[in-house]
């Protein structure tokens, strides 16, 4: 069964729908890039998948052992976080919050998983450093490590390279690519269509009407539309 199935999804706020009749499925190990202009419904879709917003109508189904609250979410940074007094370790560990269950405090296993993910993203030496003293790229790695702590199956990345310089952007993309190679399913919102085409196996585009398909399907769809325009 697919990890995520969106069925007849209509997205929007009180004023009316933004996106209608959205249908797609995503299987384990796939990499979906969501592209489109601001306000086209990318973020709304992402928030609906995460359960932060209710769909206008239609439904998002989870399968293959995935639960909605066990998605690893990499949000865009908020102003509050930029100068938040917390150590890297504290932030990464807070990703295990969805595994607390009936416990009040984090268990040994949670600490081990946090440690493992800090090693994976090469931020172990920053462990005791304060989050607010890190560079933008380092902060983003910390938040990615936190997202990894929350999930074993699916990462949702909201414009993961916003505000990073070219070199750090490349490192970030390499990290994301290697996570996907290791079997992590990824949904990424991106402005950068070229990069999306390099990384993704599937594309969901909100350009004029929405389109969902594999990368090859998207390329021929785009080609056809160009032909029409010309």
């Amino acid at each position: 069964m697919a990890l995520i199935t969106c069925r007849d999804l209509v997205l929007g706020y009180e004023d009316g729908p933004i996106v209608e009749n959205l249908n797609f499925t995503l299987n384990r190990g796939e990499f979906l890039c969501i592209i489109g202009e601001n306000g086209s419904g990318k973020t709304t879709l992402m928030k609906t998948i995460l359960g932060l917003l209710k769909p206008y109508s239609g439904e998002v189904l989870f399968g293959d052992g995935l639960k909605q609250e066990q998605i690893g979410y990499l949000p865009q940074q908020t102003l509050v976080q930029k100068d938040f007094p917390a150590s890297v370790e504290e932030v990464v560990l807070s990703g295990r919050q969805n595994h607390l269950g009936r416990h009040f405090f984090y268990q040994k296993e949670d600490h081990e998983i946090a440690k493992k993910n800090m090693e994976k993203l090469q931020i172990s030496d920053l462990r005791k450093k304060s989050y607010r003293h890190l560079s933008g790229g380092q902060q983003q790695r910390v938040l990615l490590a936190r997202a990894l702590c929350a999930t074993e199956d699916l990462l949702v990345l909201d414009e993961p390279v916003t505000g990073l310089d070219a070199q750090i952007t490349k490192i970030m993309y390499d990290t994301i690519r290697s996570l996907n190679k290791e079997g992590m399913t990824i949904i990424m919102i991106s402005h950068d269509v070229d990069m999306a085409l390099q990384l993704a196996t599937h594309i969901l585009s909100f350009e004029d009407t929405h389109f969902f398909g594999t990368k090859q399907q998207y390329l021929s769809y785009r080609e056809k539309n160009r032909g029409k325009a010309a």
């Binding site: 009180e14 995460l50 359960g51 932060l52 639960k67 909605q68 609250e69 066990q70 998605i71 979410y73 949000p75 908020t78 509050v80 976080q81 938040f84 007094p85 917390a86 150590s87 370790e89 504290e90 932030v91 560990l93 807070s94 990703g95 919050q97 969805n98 607390l100 009040f104 405090f105 984090y106 005791k128 450093k129 304060s130 607010r132 003293h133 936190r146 929350a150």
Partner: protein, 280 residues
């Protein structure tokens, strides 16, 4: 020292110290959350509501059971203030200011018109600045204070990982299945409770100082959440203790003395951090 020991023989002084320590502990814990969530001003707003509520209780001749009037009204105001409406017609900061000045005006109006006491200005002054009410607590009030403060501390400790998660990143916490609305409500209710309790200590105009100063001071020194929380609590409790003792020995108003202590500690730490910052 002898003078202090001498004073400690009086039960009302001991009560005052116990209550003062507990209130300053709770307010500093909460302060860290409110400051980080950019809600610093809420303490101030709510304290004015509590002032209005106290006036209402006086009009209703319920001064003995005043907590039953003040607590629910302040809790209700806290819930309204912390509720984040995306489509709110009135912005958050304006909402706080409006509720707080209205309560203040209503409170004074009621006290002025209906007060049973001969000296209205003194009543108003003592409600606003606390003056001596910490030294005139009844045994019942002391117990209420002790129980509520211990509850707050207990909740804070037990829910610490969740509190951190929701303060650092509310969307992430919600996406990982946490009922963040419930936590925000809990924080609102606790804030209201602490503020009502703190009115006894420093009066309603000065409560924000107890909420804000210790956590800001701690954030200048410490760089992770746990140390900020601990240092904030330590600073707040020591300032309250020193402030109360100074007030008792020198006969200064309790609330203002405590706030001055907080200000002095903050200033010292701030100046030191400036020099340290230059050295880096």
């Amino acid at each position: 020292m002898d003078i202090i020991l001498n004073y400690l023989q009086y039960p009302f002084v001991r009560y005052a110290l116990i209550v003062g320590v507990l209130i300053s502990l709770c307010s500093s814990l909460l302060g860290v959350l409110l400051v980080l969530k950019r809600y610093s001003y809420i303490g101030d707003g709510l304290s004015h509501v509590a002032f209005g509520a106290m006036a209402i209780s006086a009009v209703l001749h319920m001064t003995d059971q005043k907590m039953f009037v003040i607590l629910p009204l302040t809790v209700a105001a806290a819930v309204i203030l912390l509720k984040k409406g995306r489509n709110a017609k009135i912005q958050g900061d304006a909402k706080i200011a409006m509720i707080s000045v209205s309560s203040l005006a209503l409170g004074y109006l009621l006290m002025n018109r209906f007060s049973a006491s001969a000296n209205v200005s003194a009543d108003v002054c003592s409600t606003l600045f606390g003056s001596t009410s910490i030294l005139t607590l009844t045994k019942g009030e002391v117990w209420l204070c002790v129980i509520l403060s211990l509850l707050v501390v207990l909740m804070y400790v037990l829910l610490y990982p969740r509190i951190f998660a929701v303060t650092f990143d509310e969307d992430f916490a919600r996406a990982s299945g946490m009922n963040t609305d419930l936590y925000n409500l809990l924080i609102a209710v606790i804030t209201a409770v602490i503020i009502v309790l703190a009115m006894n200590l420093v009066g309603s105009l000065l409560i924000s100082a107890l909420v804000i100063f210790p956590s800001i001071t701690a954030m200048l020194v410490c760089h992770d959440f746990r140390s900020v929380t601990i240092l904030s609590a330590v600073t707040s409790v020591s300032c309250a203790l020193v402030g109360m003792l100074v007030a008792i020995v020198f006969g200064t108003p309790v609330g203002s003395t405590i706030v001055m202590c907080d200000l002095i500690v903050f200033t010292i730490v701030y100046v030191i951090s400036l020099f340290k910052g230059k050295g880096r």
